[in-house]
Every structure is written in C-alpha cells, then in structure tokens.
C-alpha cells in the first residue's frame, strides 16, 4: 500500500469510526454486507486468506491447569519421584521459579487412551476423552513470562503488559460482527469464588475504539452492563422514551447536518434491540432437557461453567464473533490433587458437551474452540510447601505446556509437539504464544502480519513482531 492509499483507507476508517463508531459501525458493516457494499468500505482489512472458521470460543483456563495430571502423561516421572531433578533437564533454563532443589512429583492420576486417535487423558477428564477424535492436542506450547497476569496478557493481547487490544478485540476490529443486537466480543466469567487476576485488562480494547472491547455477560445478573431499565420503566415506556429521543435527535440532525447524530440514533435503536434480544439469549427454555443435561445443568457442580458453555454456543449461533470463557481457579501450588478434582468436575463435562453440541448442529466446522491456560506447571512438587502427602502442588512452568484446539480449520484427532521425559523442555515443534495467535487468526482468514493499527508511531499487531502459522495443526 502506498502512502496516499494508506491515508485514503485510514481516512475511510476514520470516517466509519466517527460516522457510526462502535457497535454501530459493526452493525453498519453488517448491514452493508447484506447490501453487498462492504467491500468498498473495509476491503483492505480482511479476509486475507480463505477463512476456515467464522467464530471463536476460547475456554481460558486461568491460573494454569497442570498438564502432567490432565493431558500430558509422563509415566517415567515415577522413576525420579521424590528426588531432585537431574541437572541436565534444567540446562539453559532461566527462571526465578525453577529451583533445581525441588523434588520430582509423579502424577497421582492414571491415564488411558481414548478414541481412534488414542489420545491420552487422565481419569479426571473422562468427558474430554470422549471428544479425543475431535481435537488437536498441542504439547509444545511455550511462553515468555512466568507470572500469571503478564502471561495472561501475553496470551490474550500479544504483549505481557497492559494497554494492547485482546485477541477478541482484534478479531472484532478486523472482521466486524454479524449481528446487530449483540457485541462482537463477549466475555463470560463463571463465579468460582474470585475473578481472574488481571480482570478486564484481559479483554481490553487497548488503543482500538471502545466498541471492540470485550463485553462481559453474566448469567446471574442483567447480562450486559446497564441492560435493565430503571425500576418503574417498563418496555412500553422505554420504547416511548427512545422514540421521543429519536425524534428530537433527528430534528437536531436536520439543524446541524452532523451525521454523528444519525449514528447516535442508530445506537439507541440497537440498544433497545439488545434489551429485547439478550433476555432471549439468556433464557434456555427453548433448549431440550437432553441438551441441558449434556452440559450438566442438572447438577450444581457443572451448572456455572455449563451455563457459560451453552451460552457460548447460543452466542455463536447468533453471530457473536468471539466468545471467551474464563475458569480461573487452576493455580494449584498446593493440594493439587484435591483441587484438580474439583475444577475438573466443574469443567470437564461442559467443555466436552460444547464440542459435541456444536458438532451435532453443524457449527463445529465454522467455530474454532481453544482450551488452555497461560502457561503450564512444573514436574516437581512446589518447593514452598514441603513434601507432605496430599499437600503437593506444582509451580509455574513457562517453557513447555499443553493445550488443545478443535473445530474450524483444525486437524481433528492429532497430537502436535513433544517434550523431554520430564516435560521440561520441548523436543519437537515448539509453538510460541505468538504462533498460536497467528494460527487462530489464520483460521479466521486473517494474515496476522497485516491486521495492524497505527498507535504511537508503530503499526501494531496482535503477534507483536513474531508469530508463524502452525501448519501441523491445520486440517
């Protein structure tokens, strides 16, 4: 793109942003596409390549679940159990949290192969085992930082700092939304006692317009912030209020000629539509009992996360581009065995149900699903808590960890990457966080190097200055 052309597109984007910024823009984009005119407006952005998926559901396991006890069996660990880690494993590793004096802690769990692929899962994840042939397991993830919040930011925003847009914001910015009455990027947190460490910095729009920010939905409250009318104002009265307001604003538009007022009117209309549609979205009465049971909504343990999983499916059905679910109690520095049992009981069944449900509805092909945390955990017992049986835990491990992907664009039933006998260092196909991000964008038809935004003098992108699409995980 030459300079003038660049300015031209920037100009148009500015025009769009100011003319009908926010979800207004997105909705407008949606309307325009239906009119077949979008190409003129946003052609420079995306798709760069043929998209494999339309939507993303990201199951973010914050706190970092232990790969050794769930999805990455290392049976040979028993050989060293209770002894310090042989030195050669630690070679070249630089990290505050890795203390070579710690003792290897073999997993107390048992594993078994599942499906035709024979992928192994621990006895805490039988439901995930049942979808083994739908997913691609990656054992060679690595990241740059070993503290939760920076690592979560790196995973979500591409840098271990505040201030950059989250992946969902980038996707919303690049692809727009396909629905007029819901935001393009939604975040669902299940109330498991505490919020996520970094809070909303994980779904920040950074320097992108506020319309691309992740909007948190809560299944137990009003869903969207300020969605409910003030007490005493019913739907009829709300409609009348917006009608009167719309007429007065339209009158002012005639007087000033400022098109921003037109988009303000449209944004009130969309707000009203949202008020009408969100309760329907959140009302599961149109779901069969079988579906609800599948997600575990018949049991207290599985209901919070299961509700969010079902909600995520309902959202992508309605065209929400990027749904991110947080389950944030995986940070097991001690009592790992006990805590993993609890967290798996809460999440295993709903995660598997989501994949099966998407598949039976023909949505899995167009929905990319990712399950994983911000880093992994160590093969040793956590050094801080001593070696009391039952008290063992695992520390943070940024150099090798596992996660899985499924759905649109992903090769099902495959395992990618490998680590050494203790899972300390990657031996095959290292995949950095930026590679994962590049791959996710690729599945959506976006070249990660070309989705950029000029900020403080730089053309900034999600993958910072790195990232390679991981061909091995692609179908």
């Amino acid at each position: 793109m030459d300079h003038a052309h660049y300015r031209d597109i920037q100009g148009r984007r500015d025009f769009f942003r100011s003319c009908a910024g926010g979800i207004g823009t997105i909705a407008l984009h949606g309307l325009l596409s239906r009119e077949g005119r979008a190409a003129q407006a946003l052609e420079s952005l995306v798709p760069h390549i043929a998209p494999r998926a339309k939507n993303v559901i990201y199951l973010f396991m914050a706190g970092a679940p232990s790969q050794y006890d769930l999805i990455a069996p290392k049976p040979i660990m028993t050989k060293w159990h209770g002894t310090p880690v042989p030195e050669h494993f630690m070679k070249g590793l630089q990290d505050q949290l890795m203390k070579s004096t710690a003792q290897v802690f073999a997993s107390p769990r048992t594993f078994q192969p599942y499906g035709e692929s024979g992928m192994e899962f621990s006895d805490f994840l039988p439901h995930t085992g049942s979808i083994a042939d739908e997913i691609c397991m990656i054992h060679s993830m690595h990241t740059d930082v070993s503290n939760h919040h920076p690592a979560q930011l790196l995973m979500n925003c591409g840098v271990p700092r505040f201030g950059h847009p989250a992946m969902g914001s980038w996707v919303s910015y690049g692809l727009g939304s396909e629905c007029d009455n819901l935001p393009g990027f939604v975040v669902l947190t299940s109330d498991s006692g505490k919020g996520i460490d970094g809070g909303s910095s994980n779904w920040s729009n950074g320097f992108l317009p506020a319309s691309h920010r992740g909007v948190t939905f809560r299944s137990d409250g009003e869903g969207v912030l300020y969605l409910d009318n003030p007490k005493g104002v019913n739907a009829e009265s709300q409609r009348a209020r917006i009608d009167a307001l719309g007429d007065l604003n339209a009158h002012h538009l005639e007087q000033t000629g400022d098109l921003e007022i037109a988009s303000r009117i449209a944004s009130y209309e969309m707000a009203f539509n949202m008020q009408l549609s969100v309760p329907g979205l959140m009302d599961f009465s149109d779901e069969s009992e079988a579906t609800k049971t599948m997600y575990g909504l018949d049991k207290d343990t599985t209901t919070p996360f299961g509700t969010n999983c079902l909600m995520a499916r309902r959202m992508v059905e309605r065209g929400v581009r990027f749904v991110q679910l947080y389950h944030s109690t995986w940070d097991d520095h001690s009592e790992l065995n006990k805590n993993l049992k609890i967290n798996c009981a809460m999440t295993d069944q709903p995660c598997a149900a989501l994949i099966k449900d998407l598949k039976q509805r023909g949505l899995l092909d167009e929905t990319l699903v990712i399950w994983g945390g911000e880093f992994g955990r160590t093969p040793m017992n956590e050094i801080r808590r001593g070696n009391t049986p039952g008290q063992e835990g695992r520390d943070h491990h940024p150099f090798a960890f596992s996660l899985w992907m499924a759905g649109g664009g992903i090769k099902p039933g495959t395992v990618v990457g490998a680590t050494d006998e203790l899972g300390f260092q990657i031996t095959e196909d290292p995949i950095h966080v930026h590679d994962l991000q590049a791959t996710i964008l690729h599945c959506l038809g976006i070249n990660h190097e070309r989705l950029t935004y000029r900020h403080q003098g730089r053309d900034i992108r999600l993958t910072d200055v790195a990232g390679n699409v991981v061909e091995k995980v692609l179908a």
């Binding site: 030459d2 300015r7 320097f207 003030p230 019913n234 209020r241 002012h252 007087q255 303000r264 050094i383």
Partner: protein, 854 residues
C-alpha cells in the same frame, strides 16, 4: 420508527460515496522533502534501510543524506542527484521480479504516483531537509489574507490563509448561548448555569466574552477539567495494576497536585521540571518534592516470586517511554530493543536516556495536609518514646534476631537455590510486598535493609522493624513466641492509635548507590551489553550540565527553548482538546512516521508564543478560545463534506461527544446533583457489581451521601476493573500515556445513559429542580436552559408535550410504577404527573446535543 429507518438508509448512502483524499496529502510543486518525500521513504523503505543497523539490508540507509548518496557494493549510489535513471533507488522501485522494491513478499507497494514523485525529486536535485520537528520553531510571519475583518488574533490569519488557499472561507460565529456552553465545557468541564447564560446574552459590552473567559479561567473547576487532560498523559490510577491490583490510597495526592498547579497557572516549564525531577531541586519545598508523583503511575507487581530487577527495569523503562511521549512526542520505545527503524534514535541513545531514570527510587514522603503537621509531630515523639520503652526489655535480643533475619534474607537472595528453601523469597517479598495496599514505594524495604543500621532514620528503623515483626518469624519461630512478639505488636498497634493522621504522597528520590546502565540486548534485562553514560538523543539540541548530570538537568533540557519538540507537542495537545483534532493529528508521534502538521506555521506560532509568554497555559488557552476560528459554528458544511471530511481546514468548529468524565459531570451539574467539593481522596460512585467482580476479589462499596455525586475526576480508578461508565465512554487504558482519546458511539453508551442509576437520579433531580414552574412549557424552558443553554423550539415543545401526555396517561393506569420512577427524591411528589416529568427529563439528558460539545 420510520424516521430512524430512513436515517439508516441515509448513512448507507453516505457510506458508499467515494470521496477524495484528504487534500493535505496531494503534493503540489515544488516538491518538498519533508512534506512529499520523507513520508514515502519512511513508510516504504526505512523498515530495512534506516538507522537500525541490525536489520539494515544491502548496507543502504536512506534516512540520512550521506547514506543515500554513498556508493553501494554494486558501485552505484541509491540516489544520484539530478538523474533518476542512474539512481539505484529508482532502478529498484521500477524493476520487475526479484529486484523490485519494496519486495513483493512484504505486501507493500508504491503507487505509480509515488514512484513518479520520487523520480521527479531526484531529477530536481534530491534536496534533503532535517525532519521538520527536529528543527527548533521560529516565530513565523502572519500570512496575508483578504478578509482581515474576520481575524481576531493571529491564529485566525493562519487558518484563514489556509481556507482561502483552498478557495473557501470560515463558518459564521456560533450563537452566544452555544458559545458560552462550549467554552464553559472546554475550560471547566461544566455547563454554564442558566443565570450565567442569560447574563452573557444580555451583556452588550464589547469585551463580554473576554470577561466570561477570564471568569472561567479563574474558576477552581478549571484545574479539575485540565487535570484530567494531564492525567491521561500521566496514566494516573488508584491501584497497582498487576495481579491482585492493590490499592494506592495515597495516589490522589499527585492528582491534587496537578489540579492545584493548573489552577495556580504554574508555568509549564516549572510544572514539567517538578514532575520529572522535583525531588532534586535544591532546597525544594514539599510541593516540589511531590511532583515526581508523575513517575509513580507505573504499574507494580506485588506477586511473591516476581523478579525484583525485572520489574524495576520494567518500571524504569515505562518512565522513559512516558517522558518521551508526554514531553517529546517521540516513540522512544521503538529504540528499546533495537535502533529506531524510523527516527534517528539509536538503541544506545535509548539507554543513555534510560540512565537518567535508572538511579531514581520509589519513595513516599510525609506530605501533611493543612493542620496535620504540628499535631502529628508532637504525637510522633511521644509514640517513639513509648514504643522504645515497651520494647526495651527485649530490645537487644530483637535487634539481634532482626540482624540475623536481614542477613539470611540477603544471603538467600544472593545464593538462589543453595540454602534452605524457606528463605528463597524473603528478600524479594521484602522488596515487593513492602507497603502493599498503601501504595508505598516498592523496593523501599530492601533499600532500608541495605543501609548500615547507624544510617537509618528513626522512621526507617521503625518501619523495617514493623515489617520484621509481621513477617520475620521464620528466623526463629521459637524465640518469636518466647519473646511474645505477637503480643508486642498488639501493644504497638494500640500506641499507633494515638497518632493523628499524616498524609503521605508518592514521589521519587535519587538512589543510594549509583546503578551503572548498560544497553540491554533486545531489551532483555538479563542480557546486559555495553555500558553507557547519561545522554540525550544527538538529533536534538545539546545537553548541558553544571556538574554531574542528573534527572534535574534532563528536566531542564526538556524545557530548554532550544528543544524543538516540547512546546510544539504541548500546544498541539491543548489545541486538540479544544478543536478535537491536533494540528499534528498524531499527537503521540512527532517523528518521521507521524502526520505532518495541517497548519505548520500556526503550530510554530503557538509554540514560540507559548514559550515567550513564560509557558503560560491559561494565556495560551485564552488566545485559542478568543480566536474567531474557535468561535465558529459547528454546523456541518455539506459542500465540504466530500473534500474535507475530517475538517482539516478548520472551516467550522467540530461537534464532539463529551469525554467519559464530563458526560457524568455535565448530567450531574445540569440536574443540580453535582457535589462540587474540590480535592480529597478518590470516591466510589454506584456501579453494577459485575464490573468489580471482573477483577481479583475486589469490593466496591458505593458512597452514600454527597460523595455519590462527585465529578468523574475523583472516581476511584481500579486498573483491572475500571469504572463501568468510564469504560463505556472511552476512558483510556491507564498503562501508558494516552495522548488522545477515542470518541466512539455505541449501544452500551445508550444503555448507560438510559438506565444507569446515576443518570436516572439526574433525571429525577432535574425534574425536582424544575417542578416548581407552573406550566409544562415553563418547566421545559427551565430544563432546556439548564441542559443546553437555550429554550426549546416549537417542534421540541410539541414532541415533549406529546410524550409527557402519553407517559402520564400510561402511569395513571400503571400507578404502581410511579413510586419507583420518582425514587427517594423528597420534593418529588409520587404522582403520575411528576413521574411523567421525570421521564421527560431523562429524554432531555439523553439528547445528543446535551452529551455533545457543539
């Protein structure tokens, strides 16, 4: 809503209209390097052919004249002045296949026009210029214009010249009501009262507007409004940021410092020096020492196990980047990991600049509020004596234990993994956790512990001892319980209760021991490179120091009148606040990849005038708001919509949605709810629980009483879950200096204004304040005057009569809704008429006009 559908169709129509480039980009002969050539080279070539030696390809650099003309390995020069055909650059940009530049795989391409432009420039002699922003501004002559009558001050001559050049002219002056509302919102962030509007409209004196402006500049609300402008740059927040995001209950002292400085019209050079190095000013006052609160807005990680040095380096780096952005408009960050790819700033220079901040440590100081000092100092002496008496029987043994504890903690930190693992993090935790939830300086605990005991102040000894009592038991659990440390602490806590409050403030101080600074390979603190001395970028004016150079010298260098950037960058941001768009639209980047000024001479005139005035902010703002350019109507000009959609020419004022805070302030003020107290700690207005639950275990107990209705400036800023309404209205991320806010327009904003309890309370209050009027028309008059400084016209009147009538009718039949609508407002009768009037008021508070500066 037939009308709305029609408007959507209208937007669709407009969105498909093609319009030409912004006219600023069309080159007109003769070609000028800065305007026409440098942007092309920067955008298409510098990534591989500029200052960054590590990624430079083919040994060619095009960011310097020398580089572009020197012979390449191939024996030819990239640029041979006067001859495009023998210039390698031109050959390569017109080549096909592998020789083509930029390479095809980059996806980058030069347009035919750009290629021709480069060719013409080479043929014309390839004249070079230093990037405009690196040359100190000189006072330009005011241009000749034909319509001299329109010009009120030199600003107008510059803008009018540009308009006339484009064959058009300015808009008429806006009406007096709109003007007063505009300038009130701009200078104080609050709408004018109906009385002020009427008085201004009736004031026939020729200087009526000047007087109104003077009154606004003298208002204490001026400082509140412009403090927010500055706090965006400072990245101010009331919490740490990372992980648990602990509170910083003392942070507000810096915010108040800014409010006061702006109200007192502290000259901008002094304002700057105080914030960068006020702690180093010889014989500085407490007020000066509080200035570096600016540098304390960096994030902090208090997670046990975080690396002390990693986070200290991160904070120092952020300080460097922030100073670069705020004062120099430079993207120094680009030079952190490698030489800057576009601007002539090397990685070495980044670390030379970094060195100024590498020897600054965080500290909080006693900064008594009026009346606190004497009572505190008197009680302090008593407290110290009582404490010593209490501990006296076991003092020696405690001191001994503490010495062992300090030694072991330090030893373990210096010998990781070698000793008992219980000690592994004691030292880090002392540094990180110190003063947690009080927003005290990080690393201060380790700083004190490194001092020989004899050199520690009484206060330092006591604070470290308190920490030791709370967290040092691992040195000898048995002795701790035998000495009854826990019981002693309880008794000390009792003694502390007798201490009256002493307010503290965050600032910086020079480090005890000088840390050498090195280049960090790829910005990684674990891979130090060559050592560097303090220094400033060579492209800018010379750095001078009387003795050993330090941060204070740097601060003085930044506001030296030879500095080509500081004044321009600052006046540009003040302009941006008033006009919605900077003269340099990239107000964060004055480097070669930044936008060129739309009105270069105007920018320089403002910059030089600003410095000549003694860096007088209020005087500069006054000049701006008194200009005819500022006073223009903001109505759209359809004939310019296609030619100049961004209003670069300033052919009118811009209509702008109010910022997050002013959206709130405006509703509270117009409705009579605003509690106008100035200053004090942050407050927590009501917001939905779902916002606070986003973050780690945060609680948000909404204020009861008048603090519910304070200005947005005072709302507590929790970095990991910022205030819901603020976020909806583009409140910026607080991590980095924000130089310009987005102004989006979303349905979430509509929901916010319609349904948020604060805004509905404003509707109730507005209803209550206007209900005393006899007729509905009189009420409407009052409400409109309060909100939009004018009376409603007939269309508006009729529509609101209709809405009121219909809503009242509904409420008569649904009377159970009435008490909920009127709420707890005592003078608001719970009847259908009042409730319907509340609904009308809420419509008025949602008007686009109300939430916009016209």
């Amino acid at each position: 809503m037939r009308k709305t559908t029609g408007i959507l169709a209208f937007i669709l129509f407009l969105a498909t209209v093609q319009y030409p480039l912004a006219m600023a980009d069309t080159p007109s002969p003769p070609l000028r390097f800065n305007r026409d050539i440098l942007p092309l080279l920067a955008d298409h070539c510098f990534k591989c052919h500029a200052a960054d030696s590590a990624t430079r390809k083919g040994g060619l650099r095009l960011d310097t004249e020398e580089g572009a003309r020197s012979l390449l390995k191939s024996g030819v020069a990239a640029i041979v002045p006067g001859n495009r055909d023998t210039s390698a650059l031109f050959q390569r940009i017109t080549a096909t296949g592998d020789d083509r530049m930029p390479p095809e795989e980059t996806g980058d391409e030069l347009s035919l026009e750009a290629i021709e432009r480069l060719g013409a420039w080479i043929d014309g002699g390839a004249t070079w210029e230093t990037h405009w922003a690196y040359v100190a501004p000189k006072l330009p002559a005011t241009p000749q214009i034909s319509d001299a009558a329109w010009v009120r001050n030199p600003i107008d001559a510059f803008t009018l010249a540009r308009l006339e050049e484009a064959g058009t002219g300015p808009s008429p002056e806006t009406d007096r009501r709109t003007l007063l509302r505009r300038v009130s919102l701009d200078l104080t962030g609050l709408p004018p009262s109906p009385e002020a509007v009427e008085a201004f409209v009736l004031d026939n004196r020729p200087d009526a507007y000047d007087r109104a402006v003077d009154g606004l500049l003298a208002s204490p609300h001026f400082g509140e409004k412009w403090a927010r402008w500055w706090l965006d740059l400072a990245g101010y927040a009331d919490s740490d940021g990372f992980l648990s995001d602990f509170h910083r209950p003392q942070a507000w002292r810096y915010r108040q410092w800014v409010v006061d400085a702006l109200n007192e019209n502290m000259p901008f050079d002094g304002f700057s020096i105080a914030q960068i190095a006020g702690d180093l000013v010889p014989d500085g006052t407490i007020k000066e020492k509080m200035g570096p609160g600016f540098l304390r807005n960096t994030l902090a990680n208090r997670e046990g196990g975080a690396d002390l040095e990693e986070y200290r380096v991160m904070q120092t780096t952020e300080r460097v980047i922030s100073v670069g952005t705020v004062w120099l408009g430079e993207t120094l960050e680009c030079a952190r990991c490698h030489d800057h790819k576009y601007d002539p700033i090397s990685q070495r220079e980044f670390y030379q600049f970094y060195a100024f901040f590498n020897n600054a440590d965080e500290v909080n100081i006693d900064a008594p509020l009026p009346g606190q000092r004497e009572a505190y100092e008197a009680a302090w002496a008593t407290y110290v004596a009582a404490r010593e008496a209490l501990l006296e029987p076991v003092a020696t043994e405690l001191a001994d234990l503490q010495a062992q504890w300090e030694e072991k903690a330090q030893w373990a930190a210096d010998h990781p993994g070698e000793g008992n693992y219980h000690w592994d993090r004691a030292w880090e935790v002392l540094g990180l956790v110190w003063g947690q939830s009080y927003g005290e300086g990080q690393l201060e605990g380790t700083y004190i512990s490194r001092k020989p005991i004899a050199e520690r102040t009484v206060e330092e000894r006591i604070r470290l001892q308190d920490y030791f009592f709370a967290r040092g038991s691992l040195v000898n659990e048995t002795r701790f319980s035998e000495l009854k440390v826990r019981e002693l602490v309880a008794q000390i806590d009792e003694l502390k209760k007798a201490l009256p409050p002493m307010s503290r403030a965050p600032t910086m101080r020079a480090s005890r021991e000088l840390r050498p600074t090195t280049i960090m390979h790829r910005g990684d603190f674990r891979v130090p490179g060559e050592a560097v001395d303090l220094g400033t970028p060579e492209i800018l004016h010379a750095f001078e120091s009387d003795g050993t150079p330090d941060r204070l010298d740097l601060a003085r260098w930044i506001v030296d009148r030879q500095n080509p950037l500081t004044a321009r960058v600052t006046v540009n941001r003040l302009w941006q606040e008033l006009f919605g768009r900077g003269i340099v639209v990239t107000s964060d980047d004055f480097g070669v990849r930044g936008a060129r000024p739309s009105h270069p001479d105007l920018l320089d005139w403002l910059a030089v005038t600003f410095v000549d005035s003694g860096w007088d902010i209020k005087a500069l703002l006054k000049t701006m708001v008194l200009s005819a350019t500022y006073r223009q109507s903001s109505d759209a000009r359809p004939e310019l919509r296609q030619r100049d959609p961004a209003n670069i020419l300033l052919a009118r004022q811009n209509r702008m949605r109010l910022s997050a805070e002013i959206t709130r302030d405006n509703a509270l003020a117009a409705s009579g709810l605003l509690h106008r107290a100035i200053g004090g700690p942050s407050v927590r207005p009501p917001q939905p629980d779902s916002v606070t639950k986003e973050a780690f275990d945060q609680t948000w107990v909404a204020e009861e009483g008048p603090d519910r209705y304070r200005r947005g400036l005072y709302t507590f800023i929790q970095r990991t879950s910022p205030f819901g309404q603020s976020v909806n209205f583009d409140f910026p991320d607080t991590n980095r200096a924000c130089t310009r806010r987005e102004r989006s327009n979303t349905p979430l904003q509509a929901l916010n204004l319609l349904n948020d309890v604060t805004f509905f309370d404003a509707a109730r209050s507005l209803a209550q304040e206007t209900l005393g009027q006899v007729t509905l028309d009189q009420r409407l008059d009052q409400a409109f005057l309060r909100c939009v400084a004018r009376l409603p016209d007939e269309t508006e009147r009729a529509r609101l009569h209709q809405f009121h009538g219909e809503e009242k009718e509904r409420l008569i039949h649904q009377s159970e809704r009435v008490p909920d609508i009127v709420g707890n407002f005592e003078s608001l009768p719970a009847d259908s008429d009042s409730a319907a009037w509340v609904m009308v008021c809420s419509v008025i508070l949602n008007l686009d006009e109300f939430n916009t500066k016209e």
